[in-house]
């Protein structure tokens, strides 16, 4: 009789490949963080805000294309401008972008501080810089979808409804890189600003309130400087609510809308060079806060 025994411990040393690269660590951190912030593998309540905001951002594009479909190409071609031009679109969905940055972005880093999971991450070969890079990517990608996809959808719709689609593309070729560039700029500025504020607290609610307060205060300061100190449009450089939006609009190019009222009304904006400078300061300042908050304090 055989004396063989079966030992089922279902554990054996891992002999597969361990790829230890910065790119892999950053991408892995970004993927898990983005999925968590967007509510993946969590109850449906966690998905409402990110999905809802993304759908609201698409609203104006759907409406504009719907009107075109209802009125027909013949009528819309005779209008003096686009129903919703590309540049003012950012203004139109500004509150969605800000709400996204205020509510969803803190979700990527505040829970880690709160549950102190950072100690576990740093006990792997992940460095604080890789952690921060992963979190930036995790926050930037969904916000980039919010700032870019509605305009891409609108552009594709405009091509579809144009009498001569190829002619429309040829006439609006410049807008294609500008839509992506402008969307990236807005997403980058608000991602970094949102993360910088969220890095100062472990509570999501505090991060959200802090972000909103900063925008309100900056808007008030800009208003006071503009009207009381009579500094003109350049006083608006302190208005963080619109700073990246104005630069993105300048990138996309101002076009006339048939509706010159409300959020679609043209605004007097600061000089281009000053806008670039202030946005750069905002990006560098936010990055500095982030990396200071997550620098390795010891080894």
């Amino acid at each position: 009789m055989s004396a063989a025994k079966i030992h089922d411990v279902r554990y054996r040393p891992f002999d597969g490949e361990q790829k230890n690269s910065t790119r892999r660590a950053v991408l892995s951190m970004a993927r898990w963080s983005a999925l968590r912030a967007l509510g993946a593998r969590r109850p449906w309540t966690a998905k409402i805000v990110p999905v809802g905001l993304a759908l609201i951002a698409l609203g104006p594009a759907i409406t504009a294309l719907g009107v075109k479909a209802l009125l027909g190409t013949n009528i819309t071609q005779q209008l003096p401008g686009d129903i919703v031009p590309y540049a003012p679109y950012y203004q139109l969905i500004g509150f969605v972008i800000l709400a996204y940055a205020a509510i969803v972005i803190p979700e990527t880093i505040c829970p880690d501080r709160r549950s102190r999971v950072l100690d576990l991450y740093l006990s792997t070969a992940l460095s604080p810089r890789e952690y921060v890079a992963g979190k930036i990517l995790a926050s930037l990608t969904p916000l980039l979808a919010v700032t870019t996809l509605p305009l891409v959808f609108l552009y594709v719709g405009n091509v579809f409804f144009a009498t001569y689609p190829l002619g429309y593309v040829q006439g609006h070729l410049r807008e294609i890189p500008a839509i992506f560039g402008g969307g990236l700029l807005i997403a980058l500025v608000y991602t970094l600003l949102g993360l910088a504020i969220a890095s100062l607290t472990s509570r999501r609610a505090f991060a959200t309130v802090g972000f909103v307060l900063l925008l309100i205060v900056s808007s008030l300061v800009s208003g006071v400087l503009s009207h009381v100190a009579n500094l003109g449009p350049n006083a608006r450089l302190f208005n963080l609510q619109f700073l990246p939006v104005w630069l993105a609009q300048k990138m996309v190019g101002q076009t006339t809308s048939v509706i010159n009222d409300g959020p679609l009304a043209p605004m007097q904006t600061p000089d281009l060079s000053l806008l670039i400078l202030m946005n750069a300061i905002l990006i560098v300042g936010s990055l500095a806060i982030l990396f200071l908050r997550y620098r390795r304090t010891d080894a």
Partner: protein, 304 residues
């Protein structure tokens, strides 16, 4: 080629303001499971973080698995698993997702991470609960998740900081069994810190005692085979015939008084000789105990 010691520390010191967290620590750790024993604030956690390369030493050298902790922290962390003392698990993730996530951060492919997460959760007895969110876990289960994530990349050494802290007696027993299994059955070297002597005795082969940042004792927990052990035999009657019988059996005896004798033994067979000699001579063996302090006495004195 000779394998490097698990951990080699020479003259390691680290000060935080007025507190000397590590004070000229010199130590070699090479047992399959080593316990780091000491009261709270003795310097155990600082030493563990220094081993992980997360705390920089003011002076001294520290080598872990042959790597210099000062310069090669990243390489060390790739070969080590770490379970911190404090609560550090995200409550909204499932055990499987967390272990998978950490496996991917340690460089495993997605397919390998899924498979390994299942294996290590099984190994720590959490297979049934792997799809439950960690927030619904008991403290004992959360401690097991910490061990599972530390094992997921098949490290050469795992460091467990106070793994039985806050556990009830049943959870504590289960946790100690898991730790013993990790070092004995899974063949992973273990460094465990605790302020409970019994935890170390039940799980470790060697012990390092720390007090006020310094190492006060480092020794194996079992006497080496063939090492002499001195016992003190106390008899009811006069011990002379008993001693004569022991000497005739080849045991070294040193009478202290009429009824007390110091006997040197080298094996369990010698212990049986003492029992037999007492029965044959009818002296009535009153007590037989180690001469001098026991391991417990020695450890307790070192802890302070």
């Amino acid at each position: 080629m000779l394998e490097p010691a698990t951990i080699e520390i020479v003259g390691a010191s680290r000060r935080y303001g007025t507190i000397q967290a590590l004070d000229n620590v010199a130590l070699t750790i090479d047992a399959p499971a080593t316990g780091l024993l000491g009261q709270n604030g003795a310097g155990k956690s600082t030493l563990m973080k220094a081993i992980l390369g997360l705390v920089r030493l003011d002076t001294g050298d520290l080598r872990v698995l042959g790597h210099d902790a000062r310069r090669e922290g990243e390489q060390i962390r790739r070969r080590i698993g770490y379970a911190p003392e404090h609560e550090c698990l995200p409550p909204e993730l499932t055990a499987a997702d967390l272990v998978r996530h950490l496996a991917e951060l340690r460089g495993l492919s997605r397919a390998d991470a899924i498979r390994r997460a299942s294996e290590v959760l099984f190994a720590v007895g959490l297979e049934e609960e792997r799809s439950r969110v960690i927030g619904s876990f008991s403290l004992g289960m959360r401690q097991r998740v910490k061990i599972a994530q530390a094992l997921v990349h098949s490290p050469d050494l795992i460091i467990l900081d106070e793994p039985t802290n806050g556990l009830d007696p049943t959870q504590r027993n289960e946790m100690l069994d898991v730790i013993r299994r990790v070092s004995r059955d899974l063949g992973v070297r273990v460094l465990i810190s605790s302020h409970i002597l019994d935890d170390i005795r039940r799980t470790c082969d060697a012990v390092v005692v720390m007090r006020a940042g310094a190492v006060t004792l480092a020794r194996p927990l079992q006497a080496a085979a063939g090492e002499a052990d001195v016992l003190r035999a106390e008899t009811v009657m006069e011990a002379a015939p008993f001693v004569a019988r022991l000497v005739a059996a080849g045991l070294a005896c040193d009478p202290i008084d009429e009824r007390t004798t110091r006997v040197t033994i080298r094996s369990d067979r010698d212990r049986e000789q003492i029992r037999d000699a007492a029965a044959e001579t009818g002296v009535g063996l009153l007590r037989l105990h180690p001469d001098g302090p026991s391991i417990e006495d020695e450890l307790l004195a070192a802890i302070g």
